[in-house]
Each structure stands twice: as C-alpha cells, then as structure tokens.
Amino acid sequence: MHAPVRALAGATAVAALATCVISNAHQERPRFERERLAPSSLQQLREADQRIDSLERAGQLRVRRVQDDTLIPGREHERFDQYHRGVRVWGGDVARQLRANGQVVSTFGTLYDDIDLDTSPAGEAATARAIVARRSPAETAVSRDPELVVLPRDGRGYTLAWRLRATSLDALDVREYFVDAHSGRVVLEYSDLQTQAGVVGRATGVLGDAKKISVRSGSGGFITNDALRPPASLITYDLKGDTARVRDYLLGRVQLGAGDIAFDWDNTWTDGAVVDAHVYTGLTYDYLYRRFNRRGLNDANIASRAIVHPASRNSSAAERMANPLFFANAAYFGGGLVIYGVGLPDNVTSNGRSWNHTVAAIDLVAHELTHGVTDYSSGLIYQNESGALNESFSDIIGTAVEFFFQEPGSGNLRADYLVAEDAVKPSGIRSLSDPGQFGHPDHYSLRFLGTADNGGVHTNSGISNHAFYLAIEGGTNRTSGLAVQGVGASNREQIERVFYRAFTQMLPANATFSIARAATIQAARDLYGTNSAAEGAVTQAWTAVGVQ
C-alpha cells in the first residue's frame, strides 16, 4: 500500500473571495503537497472547500471543534479529523476559517488518500496495553482506554493501530505508542514529553525582584491559589523536595491536596520558586488574554497547576541522574500541569552553564504553558517538523510574554531574544535572533535530519524562531544572506498575533514548516490586509530562513 499525503494549504484574500466567482466543474481536483510553498489560489480554495464538504458528508471528516475567532469578530474556526470507516486517521486533520456568512477564508490541513484498510482489530485494547506495559519501565502508567487509529506510515501505507500514552517516571518520560492492531508489534513510539532541552548548569539562587502575587486567603494564612484571575484554579504546589510524592502523583497513586499548595502566614512570600512560578503563570494568562483575548490554555479557563520544588537542589548526583526533569529542566505534563526544576547545585554546571530555579525565567514559564495552548489548539505532533513548530511556538510566545512585561535590554529581568537566560547562565538555552549561537539551524537547509530529540524538535525550532525574530526586528539571515524588512519592535504585537493566529487556529497537527509559512502569511492577510507590512515581513522572513 502506498500512502499519498495531501497537505492542504488553501487560502486567499478575503476581498478576493467576496468578489470573485470562479466555477470550473471539470477542473482536476486540487493537488496539495505537504511541502507546498505559497497560499493557494481562490479556485483551489473553493475546490478544497468542496472536497471538505464532500468528505464530511461521507463521514470521512468529522468536526472535532468549532471555536469563535478571538481576534476577528464574526469569524470562526472549524477543526476536522479525518476518519476511515469510523476510525480516526492519525495526523489527518483540517483547520478551516469561516466568515460570519459562512464563506471560507482559509483552509489548512493534511489528508491521506487511498486508504484501503480493514478497521477490525485482531487484538484487544487490553492486549496492546500489556504490550506497552512490558516494554516500559516498572513505574509506568499506561492509557486505560487506547484509541484505535489508522496510522500513516510515511510511504509504507497504513496500519491499523492502538494508540496509547505511557507515563514513565523511572524514565521520566511520556511516550506515545502505536501498536499494530493485528500483529501486536509496536510500529511507532516517540516521546511526547514537552520539555526544555536539558542542559546542566550552576544555580545561583532565585532572582530577588519585587512583584505582586495573587493568592487566596485561607485558614490562618494565604495559599497560592489565584483568586483574582478567571480560571477556576491557578495553583502553585510546593512539593518541598519530596520527589517520591511527585512521582506518585504523576503515576496517579496520590492526589495533591490543599496541604500541598504553597502557604504563607503573613502574605509576604520569600520563596522565590513559589513566587516566580505563581506570578509568571498568572502573567502568561494575562498576556494571552490581553494580546489574543484567549482565556487560558484551552480558551475556556482550564485550571493551570504548577509544581515547584519537585526535588531538593542539593540532592545527590545519582538522584539528579534518576530525575533529571526535576532539576535542570521544566516540563509540561498535559492538562495544564507544569513541573519546574529546582536547578543545580552551585558547584555543578552543564555544558558550562549554571541553572537556577527554572521558574526564574518568565519566558521559560510561558514556554511550558504554551505547550498547553498548542495541545488545546493545533495539537502539533511532537516529532519532526510539527514537533519543531510546537517547540518554536512555545519559544515565540515565551519571548513575547517576556517583551510584554519586561523592558528590552540585557541582563536579568530584561526582555531579549534569548530563551531562559534568567535561569540558565550564561545566555540561556536558545536564541531566536541567532540560533547558531547554540548550534541550532537558522535556515531550513541546515535542519537536523536525525531521529534524536524526536527528530530535533528543540533544534529545528530555530528555523521558525528566527523567522519570527526577523519578521519583527528585520535583518539579514546569516545562511541565506537575504535581508528582511521587519515591522519594527514597536509593532511586535502584529507578528505575535500573526503567529498566534496561524499556530492556534490554522495549522494542522502534522504541520510542516512550509504549511506554517503559508498559514502565517494568511494570518497576516487576515489581520492586517494583503500587502500589509506584516504580510511582507512574514513572507520575507520565511524566505530568508529557507522555507518556501
């Protein structure tokens, strides 16, 4: 079997859509390629829309979600999942933007053609669970309800597979497994743990800046449960270095209770990790609301929970090795939960860098929370190009949050294009302005093609990161030598809105850099008009980083 991939990337200007009438019933069905470079023509858009309607009527596309556009009143965004004989096709989805009158503005997606597959599994879901459990370390929680999916095999046809998610605390990993529903063989697995790339550094203590913290008064004191922001709960838990309890919680053995919430008697908070986690989580919520009118990670005010002090910083080297995520890292575990590492002891560095509490960096906190935004919007699959885009979007929003709340400059508590520079010394862990500073690609031709790091999700993110930077600040890409006329720092919100719109409302889960280019250009047109400065900057930026 062969699995031809159709990457939908159809879009057109609103004005053109409203005024042009093109009908050609005999034209060949639009052929969309994954690596498509430019937005489609009006005709292609119309034909793609007709195809979507046809597939929906046939039950091959089902609406997963319809959301109002939070930036352009009257518009809404539909998300469809592709189905084959009632079974979801993994990575097959379409995002369609509609005007109030129902006219289609843009369509992006990935559809798989010519699926010829029996959807009756030979094995039971329980069998698949057992298979995954056997492959996993001892302390692993495996999905109770595996999902039967059609798994495209990148040129090797399709496989009916059970999809399972396994949380392993021994390995400190969350992995997606796909078990062949006939043979019982694991045909695909990858880590879905959305983390900062781990580097080891030296801790110098939490930054001592004064800030306000929104808490809740309780019996005899105050707890870090934000009562002023709309989410039902925005809570910071202080696990006081009890790694075993954190592990038990992640495995579902225990629940965190009121006693785990950070507490202070007099509302004068001195634990920097607690303060930064709680405050920066709140500020990230504020940024999403103020900039995009988004209400939390899922746009419906889902609870947001942070865990700090998951370990003691001065734990033994063996302990750090066993639980690296709890030290020089931070991780989004899904469902609005983020765990922030405590940093490393003073005498320990990693690659010449020291690590403070990871929550000391507002961009890092926003980065992790943005994984939640992605989870609840595009669902960018955490491997290869879509995984790099997933990471990149987190870096982009992390940086945007930093610029929103801090003055531009260098040094602590100043906004720049470094990632996590307030926690990791020197220079943080990535750079949007100069990805090469960390050995990351600033051009598509330099992308990492190996399998490590889920296909280089923390590496190839540099490509779109740099495009975002260039679209704002302008400049010349070192590799291509192409210059970009950015919109300027004073107009950065334009590019932030463009990327947000594209990444949350237009990109399909299996998006490529090319689709991201098309989607961001479309978003720029939606928001600022055809031939706007934003559209020009975004287009030039993607071209400069080699994405067509």
């Binding site: 004064a210 800030k211 306000k212 913290i213 929104s214 002023l228 922001r229 709309p230 509302n267 709140g282 500020l283 504020d286 609301y289 103020r290």
Partner: protein, 252 residues
C-alpha cells in the same frame, strides 16, 4: 454670610455699641445670666487631604486618595451661664454645639493588583459626612449698658473643642479582570474624634425686656486646631469658626 462679613459686622457692632453707652441703662436683676440661643456657624475653609490607604484586596501597594471637604455652614446651638463679680466684670461658661454634614470630592489612584506602579484614577464624591463640634467657652466678660434698653457684653477666653467628624478612610472601586480600569463605587468613612484647646472672642448685644430677661444677638469667633484620631490615621483639622446666634437672656 461669609466669615469675613460676619467678622466685619462684629467689629462694627462693637464700635457702635461702645459709642452709645448710657448711664441710664436698666440693670439686670441679679448677678447671674443664663443664655440660650440658636443660630449658625459659618462655613469653615475647605479642607484638602491626601493620604494613603491599603486596600483589602491589595496588601502589597498603597492606594492614594485626595479628598476635598467642603466647609458648610450649619446649625449652632449655644447656651451658657455667667456671673458678675462687679458691675461690669464677670466670668462665664458657654457651650456651643455645631452639627452639620458636608460633602467631599474624592479622587484616588488605585494600584493594579498584579503590577507595581500601575495606577488607575477614579473619582467620586462622599456626601452626608457628619460633623459635630462641642465648644466649651470659658470667658471673662465685660458688660456695659448702651442707652436704656441695650446692653453690650464683650467676652473672650479659652475654648475646649470636642470634635467628632466623619472622614473618608478609603475608596472602594468596582473592577474586574483584567483590571485595566476601575470605577469609583463609594468612599468608606469612619468617625474621627479628638479635642483641642483654642480661643474665643465675641460680643453679645442684649435688648433688655425687663430686669429679668432680654434678647441677645451673639457674634463669636472661636477657633482651634484638633488632631482627630481615626481608625487608620490621625487627621489634623481646624475647628470652630464664626458663630452667630440669637436667643434669650435670663437674669437672676
């Protein structure tokens, strides 16, 4: 009537009265004089105050309020007793009670709950701010007849003021996420109390009905500065002012 006008009238009255003294005046029946009267205490100068307060919702940063209290004229009740030791000289004690209410214009800068130094301006008013001043006026009196029916009494001495006054303590606002703006809801008030020692000086022009009674017109200026203790702070205010009242004088 403004304070300045009253003070001018008072001076004029004293001058006229003193120039019209007559030896044929009717003498009161006894050494004691009981006086009762009612009138008005003139508007006091407006009071401006700037103070900081901590909102219950934000214990990290003070809000600031500027309050301008209007000085309204209000009812004054006055009564007293005096004793003559000689034909012209005596001592007396008068008690005046001023009670009114006033309005205050309030502007405030309310900090944003999530960020330092991000203030939101609100403005509004507080009305019905009760104000009560009891004045205990100890006086040395000098009295002289003016013609056959009029009698002039000059008096001066210290005054003890006992003051209770409602002041604006803090400002409540209506606000909601994302707290970019706030609107004035109300001014919270509290009673501030205090005492002060000041002075008084005045003239009482009495129309003698007979040897036992007369009708008096009192013009007095009493003044002091009081530190009033409110729950959250101490407020320094000027008390007293120009008092004008008419009433009965009984001699026994």
């Amino acid at each position: 009537m403004s304070g300045a006008a009253i003070r001018a009238s008072l001076a004029t009255g004293v001058m006229v009265a003193l120039s019209a003294v007559s030896a044929a005046a009717q003498q009161p029946a006894g050494r004691f004089t009981l006086s009762l009267g009612a009138g008005v205490q003139a508007a006091s100068p407006a009071l401006n105050q700037r103070f900081e307060f901590l909102r219950p919702v934000d214990q990290a940063e003070n809000a600031t309020a500027d309050v301008r209290y209007a000085g309204n004229a209000a009812l004054l009740i006055d009564g007293g007793i005096a004793r003559r030791f000689t034909k012209d000289i005596g001592v007396g004690l008068s008690i005046s009670r001023y009670q009114g209410d006033s309005r205050a214009d309030v502007t405030a800068q309310i900090p944003h709950p999530f960020e330092f130094n991000r203030l939101r301006d609100v403005s509004g008013a507080a009305s019905g701010l009760d104000r009560t001043e009891l004045g205990y006026h100890v006086q040395v009196q000098y009295s002289r007849p003016i013609g056959t029916r009029l009698r002039l009494v000059l008096a001066a001495g210290p005054t003890l003021f006992d003051v209770t006054r409602q002041i604006v303590e803090s400002v409540d606002v209506d606000e909601s996420y994302p707290f970019d703006t706030a609107t004035f809801r109300r001014a919270r008030r509290s009673a501030a109390k205090g005492r002060a020692v000041g002075f008084n000086a005045g003239v009482d022009l009495v129309w003698t009905i007979n040897r036992s009674a007369g009708l008096g017109a009192l013009l007095r200026y009493a003044r002091g500065t009081a530190d009033l203790d409110a729950p959250s702070r101490t407020v320094t205010v000027d008390v007293g002012g120009v008092q004008a009242c008419m009433g009965l004088r009984l001699y026994f």
